[in-house]
């Protein structure tokens, strides 16, 4: 290319100018000159107390709201857990037993509502989520504890795979705008509008029942002993393959579209033109300049999408009979096991909140402007 000498000359002059503008050009990597990252790093890390404080207050408020919703929903309804239990036992329980149960569940009608609310908080603060009717009065915490790792493993792996592939794909699709890759946008959008459970059932029908490549459900075969050995891990992976594939395929579209749209906006910015004028290789402009800036809203929508992801995996677990927390919730629902339902809901809210905190921290790392709010 005849243009190469001109552009590299332009690059040298541009970087010289920038270097002259910076106060201490020797202390930093010359390739970072002019990026916000370089400037904030030189100032040293600041701790944005106001930002952290605001977020902590928000999380505390959300948690309080979720717990309060959780407290009131069963109490606003006509029947309650004890009524359901009495109905199940078909008159075999005496009124005394009913009263004892009411006290156990904190549903004693003679206690004022405010006192019940305080008792509920007291129970939660002691880590007591109540007792599950459908699993023979076992503590709700135990039931959730055995289901949670499966869900976190499945959802975590699937979500991370989907986010990474989708974001990378979106960056490339946005970069090659107007090209053949644009076809990914309608294709992934279509896949994103398919309901989770339907695609899951179709996959079971094709890959499991017809082709026999993967097992149709459960986390592992009944005969296998759980443990940290190769057999068991292989078993778990082969059982998780289809659910993970389904989640990835359905959630990919959102990430691709979000990243591509953000890339189109970012690629019009002046700093991209400057980077290209400096003659930086395309790959560097794509990943270090464009994608790096376009990924910020992705991280934010990642946090917001978690609620949907959790919702999607509930049906996923139902379809694949995966022993996670979603299946637990559905079983609790059909058994009218209110304590278990409340416990699961609380844990789900907590999980989403924790994931939001992680996304917040990642966002602060990625975006220097957040860190600089104090300055």
């Amino acid at each position: 290319m005849s243009s190469e000498p001109t552009t590299s000359a332009a690059q040298t002059t541009a970087s010289q100018e920038l270097a002259a503008a910076a106060t201490d050009p020797t202390a930093i990597d010359p390739t970072l000159i002019g990026t916000t990252a370089a400037r904030s790093e030189r100032r040293g890390p600041r701790i944005p107390w106001r930002f952290i404080g605001g977020r902590v207050a928000f999380y505390a408020f959300t948690l309080w709201a979720a717990i309060t919703i959780n407290f009131f929903i069963p109490r606003l309804m006509k029947g309650d857990a004890v009524d359901a239990y009495m109905a199940r036992s078909q008159g075999q329980l005496t009124p005394d037993a009913e009263k004892a149960l009411r006290i156990l569940f904190g549903l004693d009608k003679s206690t004022p509502l405010g006192q019940q609310y305080l008792d509920y908080w007291n129970m939660l603060l002691h880590g007591n989520l109540g007792y599950s009717i459908s699993t023979g009065m076992a503590p709700v915490g135990d039931a959730i504890g055995s289901a949670l790792p499966w869900t976190i493993g499945l959802v975590g792996v699937a979500t991370v795979i989907s986010f990474v592939i989708g974001t990378l794909l979106g960056a490339v699709v946005g970069w090659r705008r107007g090209g053949k890759l644009d076809v990914f946008v309608p294709v992934t959008t279509f896949l994103g509008t398919v309901p989770y459970f339907w695609l899951g059932l179709i996959f079971i029908a094709i890959f499991s029942t017809t082709l026999g490549w993967f097992p149709a459900g459960h986390a592992y075969e009944l005969g296998v002993d759980p443990g940290w050995n190769a057999d068991f891990i292989g078993e778990v992976i082969s059982h998780a393959a289809l659910p993970v594939l389904t989640i990835v395929i359905i959630s990919l579209g959102g990430w691709v579209l979000g990243m591509r749209n953000m890339m189109l906006t970012v690629l019009d910015e002046d700093y991209i033109t400057v980077a290209q004028a400096k003659g930086l290789p395309n790959r560097r402009v794509l990943w270090r300049y464009a994608a790096r800036n376009a990924v910020l809203p992705q991280v934010q929508s990642f946090a917001l999408a978690l609620g949907f992801i959790v919702s999607g995996t509930i049906v996923m677990e139902m379809v694949f009979s995966y022993p996670g927390i979603g299946l637990l919730l559905l079983n609790a629902t059909s058994a009218h096991d209110y304590a278990l339902m409340q416990g699961v809901f609380l844990v789900l809210v907590l999980a989403v909140l924790v994931a939001n905190i992680v996304a917040d921290i990642a966002y602060a790392f990625l975006d220097p402007r957040i860190r600089q709010t104090e300055g």
């Binding site: 005849s2 959300t62 179709i202 033109t273 402009v285 989403v352």
Partner: protein, 356 residues
């Protein structure tokens, strides 16, 4: 590209590039603003091809829902034990279920169930989103912050578990209640976006002028602000509808809402309960495709609105294709344009670029 654009718009032939050709809309502003032209302007976001395609698909579904009794050849609930699990034929376009119900008729009536609850939920959610979002954006201080915190809480709380828990508290939840639950979990995103946009509108000159003129608050919000928020309201309406349809079919599939309320999710519920997978494909494939098709139509409408709000999304692809046709690479824009204008440009490149 250029010729296409000229055909579409009645631009004067002297105008060179498509971007200038679009400026013909200026004429409209010179005419007096009537209610009709105002309406036309506010519907401009649906004027592109993607939105139109989405609206047409949506329109077909709406027509099917309205005229369901005329379209469906059978009663969706009538059992016919002589013809169970029939594959598609002219008699039963999409076959029959395990108790001989006509799947096509169920699908047609199911459209009604989906759309009625979907629209009801979406309208509720949008009203709440507009009220909360615009109010939070217009007010300042702790009132605004607390409304914003409220919508953020609803944004974080996972919707489906909440729906399942609320819906399961009722023995036989009425349609309005299902719609309300779907709406309750779906308004927060719209409120958040509307708040941000209202906050940026609040300080614009025309709002300041209206306030200085002593216009009452409801007039400022209804007359001055709402027209500028229409695109965002439409976009959040479409997004909420997508979530509501998916939520409804999922709830129906799980079985927490009564199966007597026929919709596409109920069809899938019965199909799964009766081991339709994988052999009786006519029972479960059409319903899933209908959900996806409705979702695609909503996504198309949203694409159109997105491109209207952010013209870069549309122009980026068009510009890149136009440049490619001239033999240029959009990602090397700076370099190529410079060599193209310089005298040392390769002859081939200049020759290719010349006709434009």
């Amino acid at each position: 590209m250029t010729t296409e654009a000229r055909k579409k718009t009645t631009a004067p032939t002297g105008v060179g590039s498509p971007e200038t050709a679009w400026v013909t809309t200026v004429d409209r502003r010179e005419t007096r603003t009537t209610g009709w032209s105002q309406l036309k302007l506010s519907l401009a976001m649906f004027g592109n091809r993607k939105s139109a395609a989405g609206l047409i698909i949506m329109g077909v579904f709406v027509l099917v829902a309205i005229f369901a009794p005329l379209i469906a050849p059978y009663d969706p609930e009538t059992q016919n034990l002589k013809e169970t699990l029939q594959p598609p034929s002219f008699e039963h376009l999409l076959g029959t279920t395990h108790i001989g119900q006509d799947v096509f008729s169920q699908l047609v009536f199911g459209t009604r169930g989906v759309l009625v609850v979907g629209f009801l939920a979406t309208i509720m959610a949008t009203v709440v989103a507009v009220v909360v979002g615009v109010t939070a954006g217009y007010l300042r201080g702790w009132k605004s912050e607390s409304l914003s915190a409220l919508s953020n809480v609803f944004l974080v709380i996972p919707g489906l578990p909440l729906m399942i828990i609320v819906a399961s508290q009722f023995q036989d939840p009425p349609l309005v209640l299902i719609a309300a639950v779907l709406g309750l979990t779906g308004w927060a995103w719209g409120a958040r976006v509307l708040r941000a946009q209202t906050m940026s509108l609040r300080n614009r000159d025309f709002i300041q002028a209206a306030r200085a003129n002593g216009e009452p608050l409801f007039r400022i919000i209804l007359v001055e602000m709402l027209p500028n928020l229409l695109a965002i309201i439409a976009s959040s309406f479409v997004g909420t509808m997508t979530a509501a349809v998916l939520g409804l079919t999922t709830l129906a599939f799980i079985g927490v809402i009564p199966v007597s309320n026929l919709n596409w999710g109920t069809i899938l519920f019965w199909a799964q309960q009766n081991n339709a997978f994988p052999d009786y494909w006519w029972w479960y494939v059409p319903a899933g495709l209908c959900i996806a098709l409705l979702g695609v139509s909503l996504a198309l409408i949203n694409f159109g609105i997105d491109e209207y709000v952010n013209p870069r999304l549309r122009s980026a692809g068009e510009r890149a294709r136009a440049m490619k046709r001239k033999g240029m690479n959009v990602n090397a824009a700076v370099t190529v344009v410079r060599t193209g204008s310089a005298e040392s440009a390769p002859a081939a490149l200049r020759a290719e670029g010349a006709p434009e």
